[in-house]
Amino acid sequence: MWQEQLPALAIAVPLAAAPLAALLRGHSASWALATLASTVSLIVAVLLAIAVGDVDPISYDVGSWPAPYGIELRITSFSALLLTIITGASSVVLIGGKQSLDAQITPSRRPFFFAAWLLAVGGLAGIVASGDAFNIFVFMEVSSLATYILIAGGSEPRALIAVFKYLIMGTIGATFYLIGIGLIYMMTGTLNLTDMETRIQDVSDLKPILAAVGFVTLGLMLKAGVFPLHVWLPNAYAWSPHIVTAFIAACSTKVSLYVLLRFDFMVFQGSLAGHDIQFSGFLMPLAVLTVLVASGVAMFEGNLKRLLAYSSVAQVGYIVLGASLMTVSGLTAGIVHMFNHALAKGTMFLAVACIATRLTSLRLEDLAGIGRRMPWSMAAFLLAALGLIGIPGTAGFISKWYLVLAALEAGTLGVLLVAVILISSLMAVYYVWRIVEVAWFRAPAAAGPVTREVPPMMLAILWAAALANVWFGLQPGLPLALSGAAATSLLGHLK
């Protein structure tokens, strides 16, 4: 039946469309194909998200070779949620960001740009769908290389330096991960994650495994941008084409966190004595630092996109903080925040793309009066920003509620964590309000260009994204159910 092929389709559709996009000529043909493939993948992802409600996990043997000998695709609630985020973000920003892409990507580069885009989507989808450690590495490389192309795809020269830094750091991260799985393969003889989980119990000499833990954790933390390994991120976000920023800010760091959590809980947690305490004790302080330091930098950052990039780093900290609590509610909070933050930050960067079609500089002082000139774009930005702060009625509130609840379960330490969460929320109020005051309460420069609102199509998509923040703030049932199931299944590996 065709439904059984869904896991394969999730990866195959964007990957197969990529070379086609590179061959297409014409003004927007490659864009149209990328959008179509991305939308089809989104439908596949949603169907999978519904299907995992009945059967969790859905296992698919590539080429009918049974696991652990063949390659296994394994769709869990967690991966279905991530698939939805990836394909959803890609589809929304492609449709909503066409004008911005047309302005920033020269026509001759477009076929390759959109081919790279599809490879990035396919690679990210492959990472979350795969049940095989080495395949995850392969897809990680596919998506990373494609992402480098996307970031450098515009005409901004500073993007080249940023992407070079990202490339070096990303390669180190991926290499660490590869060394880690190499060590595990050496000791267990398998690359299938499920198989690894059982075989690792029989390993008598644990030293290589412990080294693998270190390599895998550090490599993935680097790719996720956890403090102090976040230095590549702000510039990569700031100088890439605006629509690329919207896409990668919504999903790329989250996919690395997904691998970190999945790997750690499936392979290490159950088999290494005391690992849970080490995991928690190592990540929690880093998460707290990530949240506080990144929010602090955002408070004083002068470039809008860099400000939002630092805010993204802080949000990664929230996700890691939730996971480091090692409880169902903590993991649920972290995982649902992946979804909610993707919504909020995706919307905000999409709004940035809208205003950037009318402005040359995105420094805060150059945004004076933009709220009056482009009221609809900035109102959508504000709505998503309220979600970032965690104002009730937005999706961000749901994650914050669960995170505080989870922290309170942790006793005395939890009270401190609650304080951290709330202080950083207030820091978010501060940096969001700097933007609000400039945008609405400062008069635009008299000599500046006359700016108009962006075309209705762009606004319609932007507002659909903004209203999704409210919708999932009031009806958080589906993401919460998926996150809850993901958290329960992750913790199920703890014996």
Binding site: K400, E409, I423, F441
Partner: protein, 488 residues
């Protein structure tokens, strides 16, 4: 119409009004007609609910489930009904006043002003009818965010800086203290529904009660307990109709409404009475009353004086609530209404003086009573209400609070009331004296009379209501006693 659909209508009507105002922005007369019709419609809906509530019904309505066990739920109980009927009634008067004021002063962005006003009223009704803490919190934040642009209305550097204080204090306290308090309650009690008698009895004890109470009380920044009162004087940069309805009635009363609601329906009066660690609130409220009155004594700017007077009067409500005795809670509820009527009159009068004479300082008001007799007569009535003299609303509520204090033997509260009454008289009576009995030092360059007629009409109406409350407060008293489940 059933109770549930009336609730939904009361919530939806101001929002629909906001939309209507936005659509008619090109035609000011039609736009103001929409404002007025919305206000009147809301009052009709809310007042239709009143007899039902007075008869003992508690209509409720569940909008949607937010998270498992947590719903956006509305439930009308006597305190909420009292607050909503006060706010909706005064919104009508305030709309009339706004029309006169905004046109008289040629203010800019009038459409935005009316839209946000309607949204603020939407939030106020949501707070009044909230059936649980989470619903209350949502609307509490909507109220903060919708009033921020109203405070910053003028848009110059000074105004924006004040608005920053306003937003900063209100958001910081609500996110930093109120939200954790709500989540703590949810974890401890397993519910956040408002329940007569409270939900925390037996679930929490010892110093934790005092701590939770502190999180709630300082988290409710809108109640302006010192030291989180700074936003209220800062908010006075707003146009006067905003100060009048929002910063004398809707926003600040939302604060003390939440305080009273928490004491009665979350903690429970008897539970708090038995807790030694909950005793501090009385003293903080008492201190705020006296300190704010002393600060008010030294103000020359009329609106700032009124702001500090509001801080003091709000703490009357908190003080009464903090006595943890049924009679005092009734006093708290009455004072929410009585102070609202008196203070809106005073703000209306201040705005009327500004519109007609462009005067903002008390030292400029010599002999102004003869030029603006209606306005200053209303101001005098408002001042009497603040002091608590008959025949005004202030006397009724102060009497009730005093009865509550005496009943519980709280001599500290009695002393606070006596001293602050003297202080109130000391800063209000000189203004009245100056306006009526001194002669103008020099005639104003352009001679002026009363403000535009809608302004005078509004200020007279609220003054009349302040007096009427003294004579016809019986139904309000009955409603207030129902809060604590008793009869007068």
């Amino acid at each position: 119409m059933s109770g549930a659909s009336l609730i939904l209508l009361a919530i939806a009507l101001p929002l629909a009004g906001a939309l209507g105002i936005a659509l008619t922005h090109a035609r000011p007369n039609l736009r103001e007609a929409v404002s007025l019709a919305t206000a009147a419609g809301l009052a009709v809906v809310v007042w239709t609910l009143l007899p039902e509530v007075l008869a003992g019904a508690r209509p409720s309505f569940e909008l949607m489930t937010l998270m498992p066990g947590l719903a956006i739920r509305f439930a009308v109980e006597p305190l909420g009904a009292l607050f909503a009927s006060l706010a909706s009634l005064l919104w009508i008067v305030n709309t009339i006043y706004s029309i006169g004021y905004m046109r008289g002063n040629r203010e800019r962005h009038q459409t935005r002003f009316y839209i946000l006003f309607a949204v603020a009223l939407f939030a106020t009704i949501g707070i009044a009818f909230a059936g649980n803490l989470i619903t209350l919190f949502i609307f509490y934040e909507v109220l903060t965010l919708s009033t921020y642009p109203l405070v910053a209305h003028k848009g110059d550097a000074k105004t924006v800086a004040s608005a920053r204080v306003y937003l900063g204090v209100l958001l910081a306290t609500s996110i930093g203290l109120l939200l954790p308090a709500i989540i703590w309650t949810w974890r401890t009690a397993g519910t956040v529904d408002f329940t007569p008698g409270g939900i925390l009895d037996g679930r929490i004890s010892g110093p934790a009660v005092g701590l939770l109470l502190a999180l709630f009380m300082f988290g409710t920044g809108k109640a302006a307990l010192m030291p989180v009162h700074r936003w209220l004087p800062a908010a006075m940069v707003a146009p006067t109709p905003v100060s009048a309805l929002l910063h004398a009635v809707a926003v600040v009363k939302a604060g003390v409404f939440v305080v009273t609601k928490l004491v009665v329906y979350v903690f429970g009066v008897d539970f708090l009475h038995a807790q030694a660690s909950a005793g501090w609130l009385l003293y903080v409220a008492g201190f705020t009353t006296i300190a704010a009155s002393v600060v008010a004594l030294r103000q020359d700017n009329l609106k700032r004086l009124l702001a500090y007077s509001t801080v003091a009067q709000l703490s009357y409500v908190t003080l009464a609530a903090a006595l943890y005795r049924p009679a005092a809670e009734v006093g708290a509820a009455l004072h929410i209404a009585a102070h609202g009527l008196g203070k809106i009159t005073l703000f209306f009068a201040a705005g009327s003086i500004y519109t007609a004479a462009k005067k903002t300082e008390i030292s400029q008001l010599d002999g102004i009573g003869r030029r603006m007799p209606w306005t200053l007569a209303a101001f005098t009535i408002g001042a009497l209400a603040m002091i608590g003299l008959p025949p005004t609303a202030g006397f009724v509520s102060k009497w009730q609070i005093l009865m509550g204090s005496l009943e519980s033997g709280a001599w500290f509260a009695v002393a606070v009331i006596v001293v602050s009454t003297a202080l109130n008289a000391a800063y209000f009576l000189p203004i009245v004296h100056r306006a009526w009995f001194r002669t103008e030092s020099s005639a104003p360059a352009a001679g002026h009379g009363e403000a535009p007629w809608p302004v005078v009409l509004a200020v007279t109406a609220t003054a009349a209501l302040t007096v009427a409350f003294f004579f016809f407060h019986r139904p309000v008293l009955e409603l207030a006693w129902q809060i604590v489940g008793a009869a007068p």
